[in-house]
């Protein structure tokens, strides 16, 4: 049943008087999206946001049944999968979305890097985007322990030991994460609190900032790319395209969640030895493989300490790319940084493949 135009206008006017959205809609309708041969890559930002929304919704549903204690965590996940109606589907979607979100985020980051989208005046967009990547990795790390199965337990045991190599504050960092010397009830409740309250709050603020920057400055056009076609209005033309990309993303997600539902190992036994061949999830494999390839001692330095230090320095440099690549800000070519991006992509792919195959 459709409302007649007069009634529809009255409803719209009533609503606008109390919730003046017309200004916001007018602001959005003025925004345009450039059209060129690399426009395809713009969809991955929206897709990442879509996966994040799915994470929030499915995470809330799981939180209704999950119990964050070593005695009950595993059983509550079993109950979610075995007894709660469609609980297996919700949990599978939550776990698979985490992987797809990181994949989409990596594609978005590297496409922005190679198109030099970080150049002036979008430096803050790059920094906020990278902070979101770190936050998402934090979500994955803190969420990994929650099922309290063997692999989650030992992966967290190894992961929480990483900060120990940091001089001066290392031990403090480890005890802050674990809540004690062992992985136990304190660790689980800390990881749960970080996963469902602290990280989501920070993420919402930074996502809001990132989107605001995108509205203000719009999407960046790669250097040297000619815009042969007029830009596309964001509302509604680009939004429809974005939504169609979301339906494709959702189809892939639902296929993975139903055809390869997310499993659950044996309940964690802190007294048992770590299972052989334990590996982290694919997005932590580059760090894992680098640590494996590095000798225990390099030039008299602790190998692990050196790798963690280098990764820390590289992350800070990656964050500061807009300020290091001065040529791009002057709209000049910067081949060195393009090569750097390609080398980094190759390194990540090779280390992931090596970690899986060796």
């Amino acid at each position: 049943m459709q409302m007649d135009p007069a009634t529809e206008n009255r409803v719209a006017r009533w609503l606008d008087e109390r919730l003046p959205m017309s200004g916001v809609i007018s602001f959005f309708s003025k925004k345009t999206v450039p059209r060129h041969k690399h426009s395809f890559w713009y969809y991955f930002g929206g897709l990442t946001l879509f996966f994040f929304i799915i994470q929030v919704v499915t995470g809330i549903l799981l939180a209704l049944y999950y119990k964050p204690s070593p005695e009950q965590a595993y059983e509550s996940v079993q109950r979610i999968v075995d007894e709660v109606p469609y609980g297996w589907l919700v949990r599978s979607i939550h776990s698979w979305t985490a992987n797809l979100m990181i994949g989409s985020l990596f594609i978005h980051m590297f496409s922005a890097f190679l198109m030099k989208a970080y150049r002036k005046p979008r430096e803050l967009m790059w920094i906020s985007g990278l902070l979101l990547l770190f936050l998402v990795l934090g979500f994955c790390f803190t969420g990994y322990l929650l099922p309290w199965d063997t692999i989650a337990y030992f992966a967290t045991l190894i992961g929480t030991e990483v900060p120990r190599t940091v001089p001066i504050v290392g031990d403090w960092g480890v005890s802050l994460l674990k809540g004690g010397e062992e992985i136990g009830a304190e660790t689980l409740s800390r990881m749960y609190a970080i996963h469902i309250t602290i990280l989501p709050l920070i993420t919402l603020v930074i996502v809001g900032f990132h989107l605001l920057m995108n509205q203000v400055f719009g999407s960046s056009v790669p250097m040297g790319v000619e815009e042969k076609m007029p830009p596309l209005p964001f509302f509604p033309n680009f939004l429809y395209r974005d939504l169609i990309a979301w339906t494709v993303g959702f189809t892939c997600l639902i296929a993975l969640a139903t055809l390869i539902p997310w499993g659950l190992g044996e309940k964690a036994d802190p007294l048992a030895s770590a299972p052989i061949g334990i590996k982290p999830e694919w997005y932590f494999l580059p760090l894992y493989q680098t640590l494996r390839m590095t000798p225990a001692s390099v030039f008299g330095l602790n190998g692990e300490l050196m790798v963690n230090g280098l990764v820390g320095i590289a992350s800070v440099l990656w964050l500061c790319i807009p300020f290091l690549d001065r040529n791009s800000s002057k709209e000049k070519e910067s081949k060195l940084f393009t090569v750097l991006g390609v080398v980094l992509i190759c390194y990540l792919v090779v280390t992931i493949v090596l970690a899986y195959t060796t």
């Binding site: 079993q78 509604p236 033309n237 429809y240 494709v248 959702f250 189809t251 539902p261 499993g263 190992g265």
Partner: protein
């Protein structure tokens, strides 16, 4: 470009629909093969029967497919208004 995107979406939807309706036995085999190769992540829980999961997949794909076609029609109408 527009046509290509539309064709890819249609291809994905049609192939999922055909796949889910015709070969549950094959999907069952591939699932058991998958679980045999993942030793560390071995499943310690009972998932619904493969047919139930494929029905859920089919239903979701039909719904998303209809939504996708609806959005595509809206997009074409919006594009026509600005002369694309």
């Amino acid at each position: 470009m527009k046509k290509t995107i539309f064709r890819i979406i249609t291809f994905i939807i049609v192939s999922f629909l055909l796949g889910t309706s015709s070969c549950p036995a094959q999907a069952n085999d591939s699932l058991s093969a998958k679980s045999a190769t993942t030793e560390v992540h071995k499943t310690n829980i009972i998932f619904p029967d493969t047919n139930v999961r494929l029905t859920v997949l089919g239903a979701a794909v039909v719904l998303v497919g209809v939504l996708g076609l609806f959005l595509n029609a809206k997009r074409r109408r919006a594009d026509r208004k600005i002369g694309i």
